[in-house]
């Protein structure tokens, strides 16, 4: 059956039920088109029909009338309504039309139709493809031929069918003529469902003060006429009652009344409406007297139908008197004068403005009077009455009579009849409601049973409509007072659909939803086969719309997700819809609803509900393919990669190269050589440390950097918010990623899925196959392709986190959110969550450098003598088979560097800092060298490296170094290079050989005798003096160095200083040798050491303050430069006594102390402010001889600066040469006149003479010194030049 049933029309008894049956092979579309063609001629005027010989039904009798065919293609189970055919004969399917599109024989077709539809009274065949001109076929009146889809003579055919019908009808009626008509209850017996009205008592709402009056329920619907007659009934003495009660006459009368009623029905079908009106009226009069309420009501119904049909045909008619009596109605005049808003719901005397007619006090009426009253009524012309209201009143009356029958055992109204009547009245009222006046259009609508298509928008009732909204509503819910359960399902569907439509017309959507829900409940519980078509989905869609389910999309919008709606309502409605959809196996809709339920109401469903939902609905849908997508868009949570199995444990980056731009590499090499910062920049203490590192290693090795062929795993977190297990059968990267890497699919397959437990979030880890290198920009994975429940794989975005908006925030942000919403829609960003992505880089396969075990040293440990170099060999090989090494670079780092703290330089004074840094620099640049560094290595190539270790300049705490080999291959785009590092540690022990134990500088005063020329340094000085006349012995100082041989073997040693070359000396093991090196004094005037800054090895350090004043700094600088002067020129080489091949050198820088001021002033000629020249007339005197000393003082600087006072004190000191003690001022050894001091002015050269008288013999040293006047310290300047005075005893002969 078709669940979208027709809405019952008020005048449906007029229509001839006709069934069109396809014969042959029709396509549904063609057949429906053909039926639609026929339907155009459903209205046939009697004028066009050939007359028949039955006087009752001949079309000639009422040429204005018409036949109304109700063509249908849906069969109807006639037998179920068999009991109603006496009472309502129009329910029967009268005409069968077979539409034939093949050439099947006529007789056979007719035979089949008659067998299949035995109750039909007229059977016709239409051959659609044209019938061959056959004499036999022509002779038969019920065989027609036309051509579809362009039929020509269709109207004629339908007219002829009408003729056939009328003939058949007259036969059919004749069979009824002499039959006693029985009520349906009497025919059907107990199987007929009685109408059960579950009506409210009127006093639902009471005030306790109100006394609940025994209301006259029975009388409330009575007109005054009925009251009158009722009172007649009650008075047993009345004659009329007596005559009626005689059973014989009564039965006869009743039978006659019923016969008239059924005749009226047949006349309606035959289109003879005015005759029908007469028949019904007579029937009503008879039946009313007999109180045969069931048939009476039906007859009144017939009269109402006649009214409407006649109005439709625009034929004037008179309202029968009896109707006016039963349903007192004011004429149009009174309506116009009164307020249009009349609640016509109840035909009670109170609410209806009284007409003079009804104002009859019933109690007082005597029967005689009443007859007079009835006689005073006349037929009222139709034009003067409000027809809709009349029909409505008649309907009320009919319902009243129907309800009266309920007490009877057999003469009761069947439920279906009652319902049908309420329904058709309802449709009538709605049709009237939709239009302002009772216009022909309304009639047309009523007659053609078209439902009003929500034509007018329903605002407030303005009273213009025939029936108010409340009125219709109140009428409509009468249906809900009925017990509809026992109706045939078809009728129930009709009832509910009509109600739903009614409510929809009124805009009572929630009511509509309720009714639809009831309908679905009925459908779900019925066991009948129900035809379900696509169009019926609208029912479900309506329900979903009204309950606000379909608009909810919590996946996308947070407002939807957080909105508070009537969840239980929605959930239940959805469940019900699902049940229905499943019953009709509309899988497409089922999948949609099931997913909606599971995704929007997850939290509302219990575990058992969810699992049954899954098993009953979702799983079948998956199998049949109507669910093709997994429904939870947030299934994939975080993702990550892990590398596995490094070759060398502990060295994470051993295998993984660093990627660097080639330009960066070149830069970093330069930077590496001299770690410098830009000097023009202001020092930024926060940047220094980081900037260096960045330069060197431009790209940080992140976790998401992988290597082709690497073993790696992919981990992602999957969520299952549902209360059933999810089977994940496939997880893979999206196709654009697959080029580079893919997940091994052997771990997840259809046969071996991963089961994600209910309500859990699990991490799943799958090995990755890394296939190809990405470009250096890497690739971004933001989605994964996933297959759940063997659904086709689908891409899901990676969700990092859900967005939570607190309710308060939500409200505040509402306005701004609305703005954003547009953006959200545009960019299709899901506002529920934050999407994440995973950026990975895959490097190409890398070469690998291998160290071959062919080194000449054992266990990378090396013992080396200080001051020597050695070579170590190392074999390396490019282990990989197909990757060349395009780039190799060697670096070394020593433990000294490593152990140095980054702020080591803060504590040192400039000269010390220089020393430290110089040493480190030497260590870095010259101690370890790869002599034959290769530029590149082919795959499989090996190379022997020679590494020179030079510990000449290395400090003794140099114990180990690491040789790091940076190598790599260029990327395919040749902009980048991949660098790997191989580090080889070496341990070093430096054995001490030659050390400098002590250093001293002494001035050279005495003339050296020529005979001691065998000493190397004396020879040197003498030759110098000889060669250069200006040169004097005072120009030299002696540098005394104590060499100690700490080694086990004796060694030969030779020292060079400028052009001085010493002899080769042998130092035995553990012996010390003092060596004298003549050094020419440094000319003060030539080298301005005091103004020369101490250099920095590392430039760019700022804010270093030595904390020294100018004088101290000058002193520091002089000491520094003097030392540098010596170091620069001094060199020493040695070789072993036993093995002269083993040679070495001494790095004096390691050993020489800082110079103290005495050393500086000794070596630094002209450092003092004055030149004091002390001359003596004779250096050898005898006791008692006068000695004249001349002192010449000269200012060397020529400039009188402020800090040097002009007045100075010149002192002469006499020192005992042997004891090196200064003689006291007054002594008995050398006498002098006056003092040995003199105040001098220094601004000009000055000479003074002193006379001494030596008393004791001995050797004295006389020297002159200049001191400040005020200072206690006598010594300001001590000239190293002194005179050795030898005092001899006088030789007494």
């Amino acid at each position: 059956m078709d669940i979208v049933a027709k809405y019952p029309s008020y005048v449906s008894p007029v229509r001839i039920k006709t069934l069109i049956v396809p014969i042959g092979k029709w396509k549904r579309k063609d057949f429906i088109n053909a039926v639609n063609n026929i339907k155009e001629y459903s209205e046939i005027r009697l004028l066009d029909i050939t007359p028949i010989d039955s006087s009752l039904f001949t079309p000639q009798g009422f040429p204005n009338g018409q036949l109304l065919f109700d063509f249908d293609i849906v069969g109807h189970n006639d037998s179920s309504e068999l009991f109603l055919y006496d009472f309502q004969p129009f329910r029967k399917t009268f005409v069968i039309i077979g539409l034939v599109n093949d050439n099947s024989p006529i007789n056979q077709n007719l035979q089949i139709l008659k067998e299949k539809y035995p109750t039909a009274i007229s059977t016709n065949l239409i051959y659609s493809n044209g019938l061959e001109e056959d004499s036999e076929s022509k002779s038969l009146p019920n065989i027609f031929s036309t051509k579809f889809p362009t039929p020509k003579n269709l109207e004629t055919i339908v007219c002829d069918i009408g003729h056939n019908f009328l003939e058949a009808l007259s036969h059919y009626y004749s069979s009824y003529r002499h039959v006693t008509l029985r009520s349906p209850g009497a025919i059907g017996g107990n199987s007929i469902s009685k109408t059960v009205i579950n009506r409210y008592g009127p006093n639902t709402l009471v005030n306790p003060t109100d006394i609940q009056k025994p209301t006259l329920n029975s009388s409330k619907r009575m007109s005054s006429f009925e009251m009158t007659t009722n009172s007649i009934k009650r008075s047993a003495s009345l004659k009329l009652a007596n005559t009626l009660s005689t059973s014989d006459g009564r039965t006869q009368q009743k039978s006659k009344g019923r016969q008239l009623k059924i005749l009226g029905n047949f006349q309606l079908l035959a289109g003879r409406y005015s005759d029908a009106l007469t028949s019904f009226t007579e029937s009503v009069i008879l039946l009313y007297k007999l109180r045969d309420f069931l048939w009476l009501a039906s007859a009144i119904d017939g009269i109402a139908i006649c009214f409407l049909s006649l109005s439709y045909l625009d034929i004037p008619f008179q309202v029968p008197e009896i109707i006016n009596l039963l349903c007192p109605l004011q004429t149009v005049d009174t309506i116009d004068s009164t307020k249009p808003h009349i609640p016509p719901t109840t035909p009670n005397t109170k609410s209806v403005p009284r007409t003079s007619v009804s104002a009859i006090p019933s109690q007082m009426q005597s029967p005689r009077n009443s007859i007079n009253v009835t006689a005073s009524f006349l037929d009222i012309d139709v034009t003067t009455i409000n027809l809709p209201h009349l029909v409505r009143k008649m309907a009320e009356k009919i319902l009243y009579y129907y309800e009266l029958t309920l007490s009877s055992n057999s003469e009761y109204v069947p439920n279906i009849v009652y319902c049908n009547f309420v329904l058709k009245t309802l449709t009538f009222m709605i049709a009237c409601h939709n239009a302002e006046n009772f216009s022909p259009e309304i009639l047309e609508r009523i007659v053609h049973h078209q439902f009003a298509h929500t034509a007018t928008s329903f605002g407030f009732d303005d009273g213009e409509n025939e029936f108010s909204r409340e009125d219709i509503y109140m009428f409509a819910i009468r249906l809900l007072e009925l017990q509809l359960d026992n109706l045939p399902i078809e009728s129930q569907v009709t009832v509910y659909m009509t109600l739903a439509h009614t409510f929809k017309t009124f805009g009572f959507e929630r009511k509509q939803a309720l009714v639809l829900r009831l309908l679905l409940t009925v459908l779900s519980s019925s066991s009948e086969q129900i035809f379900w078509s696509e169009s019926h989905r609208t029912i479900i869609e309506d329900i979903l719309d009204i309950y606000g389910i379909s608009t909810r999309d919590s996946d996308m919008h947070i407002s939807d997700a957080s909105e508070r709606t009537w969840f239980i309502l929605q959930k239940n409605a959805l469940n019900l819809c699902l049940l229905i959809v499943k019953k009709f196996s509309d899988t497409e809709l089922m999948s949609k609803l099931a997913l909606k339920l599971i995704s929007n109401f997850t939290h509302m469903l219990t575990a058992s509900e969810q699992s049954s939902l899954f098993i009953d609905y979702i799983q079948p849908c998956i199998y049949n393919g109507s669910i093709s997508n997994y429904w939870d868009p947030f299934i994939i949570r975080n993702c990550s990669f892990q590398r596995l199995e490094f070759d060398e444990p502990g060295t994470q980056s051993a295998k993984l190269p660093v990627e660097a731009a080639i330009s960066d590499i070149n830069k970093s090499v330069i930077k590496d050589a001299n770690e410098q910062m830009k000097t023009d920049e202001v020092f930024n203490p926060f940047r220094t440390s980081s900037s260096k590192k960045v330069k060197f290693a431009p790209t940080k090795v992140s976790d998401n950097t992988l290597l082709v062929g690497d073993k790696a795993e992919f981990t992602c977190t999957l969520q299952n918010p549902f209360k059933f297990d999810l089977n994940i059968s496939k997880l893979q990267f999206p196709p654009n990623i697959l080029e580079y890497c893919e997940l091994k699919d052997i771990y997840l397959s259809k046969t071996n899925p991963y089961v994600l437990r209910a309500e859990s979030m699990k991490e799943i880890t799958i090995p990755v196959i890394l296939k190809n290198a990405t470009s250096n920009d890497g690739i971004t994975i933001d989605r994964l392709s996933l297959s759940v429940f063997e659904l086709p794989s689908e891409e899901f975005k990676i969700v990092n986190s859900e967005v939570c908006i607190l309710p308060l925030d939500y409200e505040q942000n509402d306005a701004s959110k609305r703005k954003n919403n547009e953006l959200v829609l545009k960019s299709s960003i899901n506002e529920r969550c934050k999407y994440g992505s995973l950026h990975i880089k895959i490097f190409p396969e890398q070469p690998q450098l291998q160290i071959m075990n062919k080194s000449n040293i054992v266990e990378n440990s090396l013992m080396i003598l200080d001051g020597t170099k050695t070579k170590i060999t190392l074999n390396i090989r490019n282990k990989s088979l197909n990757c060349p090494i395009d780039y190799i670079m060697f670096h070394s780092i020593s433990n000294v560097e490593k152990e140095t703290k980054s702020d080591y330089w803060k504590k040192f004074k400039p000269d010390e800092l220089f020393a430290v840094e110089k040493q480190m620099n030497m260590l870095k640049t010259s101690s370890i060298k790869v002599l034959n560094a290769p530029k590149s290595l082919k795959p499989g190539e090996d190379v022997q490296l020679e590494i020179e270790v030079d510990v000449t300049h290395a400090p003794f705490d140099f114990t180990e170094f690491i040789l790091s080999i940076k190598y790599g291959m260029a990327a395919s785009d040749s902009n980048h290079i991949y660098i790997k590092v191989l580090e080889i540690p070496y341990e070093i022990t430096i054995q001490k050989t030659v050390e400098i134990a002590n250093l001293d500088i002494i001035p050279l005063n005495e003339n050296i005798s020529c005979d001691s020329s065998s000493v190397d340094w004396i020879d040197f000085i003498q030759s110098k003096i000889k060669d250069y006349p200006n040169c004097n012995i005072h120009d030299f100082v002696l540098l005394l160095l104590d060499f100690r041989n700490s080694w086990l073997d004796g060694l030969h040693l030779q020292v060079h200083f400028e052009d001085f070359v010493s002899k080769k000396y042998l130092i035995e093991a553990s012996h010390t040798l003092r060596m004298i090196i003549p050094v020419k004094k440094i000319e003060f005037s030539k080298k301005g050491f005091g103004k020369k800054q101490i250099p920095h090895v590392v430039e760019g350090r700022q804010f270093i303050q030595s904390g020294l004043n100018l004088e101290q700094e000058t002193e520091l600088r002089e000491a520094f430069w003097c030392r540098e002067y010596i170091l620069e020129k001094l060199s020493c080489h040695w070789n072993f006594f036993h093995d002269s091949n083993l040679i070495g050198s001494v790095d004096f820088r390691k050993f020489l102390e800082k110079f103290d001021s005495k050393m500086v002033s000794t070596i630094y000629k002209g450092k003092s402010l004055f030149t004091v020249k002390l001359t003596c007339d004779n250096t050898t005197v005898s006791i008692g001889a006068n000695l004249k000393l001349t002192v010449h003082l000269e200012n060397t600087r020529k400039i009188a600066s402020d800090d040097i006072p002009l007045q100075r004190k010149l002192n002469i000191w006499i020192i005992d040469h042997k004891t090196s003690k200064i003689l006291p001022r007054s002594n008995g050894r050398i006498l002098y006149n006056g003092t040995l001091s003199k105040t001098v002015s220094t601004d000009k050269p000055f000479s003074a003479e002193f006379v001494l008288l030596p008393v004791e013999p001995g050797t004295y040293e006389i020297c002159a010194a200049v001191a400040r006047l005020d200072s206690q310290d006598p010594l300001l300047h001590f000239d190293s030049e002194s005179i050795i005075l030898t005092v001899n005893r006088p030789v007494f002969e």
Binding site: P202, T204, L205, K213, T215, E470, Y473, F508, L514
Partner: protein, 191 residues
């Protein structure tokens, strides 16, 4: 007789739901049948249509909804005397908020009350022996008690609204509110 009471917000969202049933001596709990329990929200939801219709009627014709098939019974409704919810601005008391019986569905009567904020207080009155089956016994509702019940619930609701932590339109989850509503129900409805 049991009742199903709900406060409905602007978006047809339930703010509060409760079912009242009576405990009569040693008798079993006389609540709604299981079938009706499921149906109640639907019935209540459907009656919102009628309530909204009444809410905006200038000339209230309440009686049409409530007693379409009777008028002769003498029970008069307050609403018809004071003139509809829309006229309530001229009246000082909350009389007009009470709509009385607005709808019925089979054996169930539905009464309603609208707050000035548009919250709908709706109640389904079941029959005392309603087993969901057809019973001819009609529901009798004490009009004034019902009105008082609604008015006190309205007061309670306003108190809830004044809670700074309560956001209008959210479900009321306060157990105090619930217990008070139930005690009111005992006081007025199921005496």
């Amino acid at each position: 007789m049991p009742q199903y009471f709900a406060i409905i917000g602007h978006k047809d969202n339930p703010i509060y739901e409760a079912e009242f049933s009576i405990q009569q001596g040693n008798q079993k709990n006389l609540g709604f049948s299981q079938e009706l329990k499921e149906m109640n929200p639907f019935i209540l939801h459907a009656s919102l249509d009628i309530i909204e219709d009444l809410q905006w009627q200038v000339v209230p014709s309440n009686s049409q909804y409530t007693n379409g098939n009777n008028s002769d019974n003498g029970s008069n409704f307050s609403i018809s005397s004071t003139g509809g919810f829309l006229r309530s601005k001229t009246v000082n008391n909350t009389d007009n908020c009470y709509l009385g019986k607005v709808d019925h569905f089979y054996g169930l009567a539905i009464t309603a009350y609208i707050s000035y904020g548009g919250m709908k207080f709706v109640m389904i009155h079941g029959t005392s022996n309603s087993g969901g089956s057809n019973t001819s016994a009609s529901v009798v509702i004490d009009d004034s008690a019902c009105r008082s019940f609604y008015q006190e619930i309205h007061e309670l609701y306003i108190k809830t609204l004044m809670n700074p932590f309560y956001r209008a339109g959210d479900p009321i989850s306060s157990p105090v509110f619930d217990s008070r509503v139930r005690s009111l129900a005992r006081k007025y409805l199921n005496k």
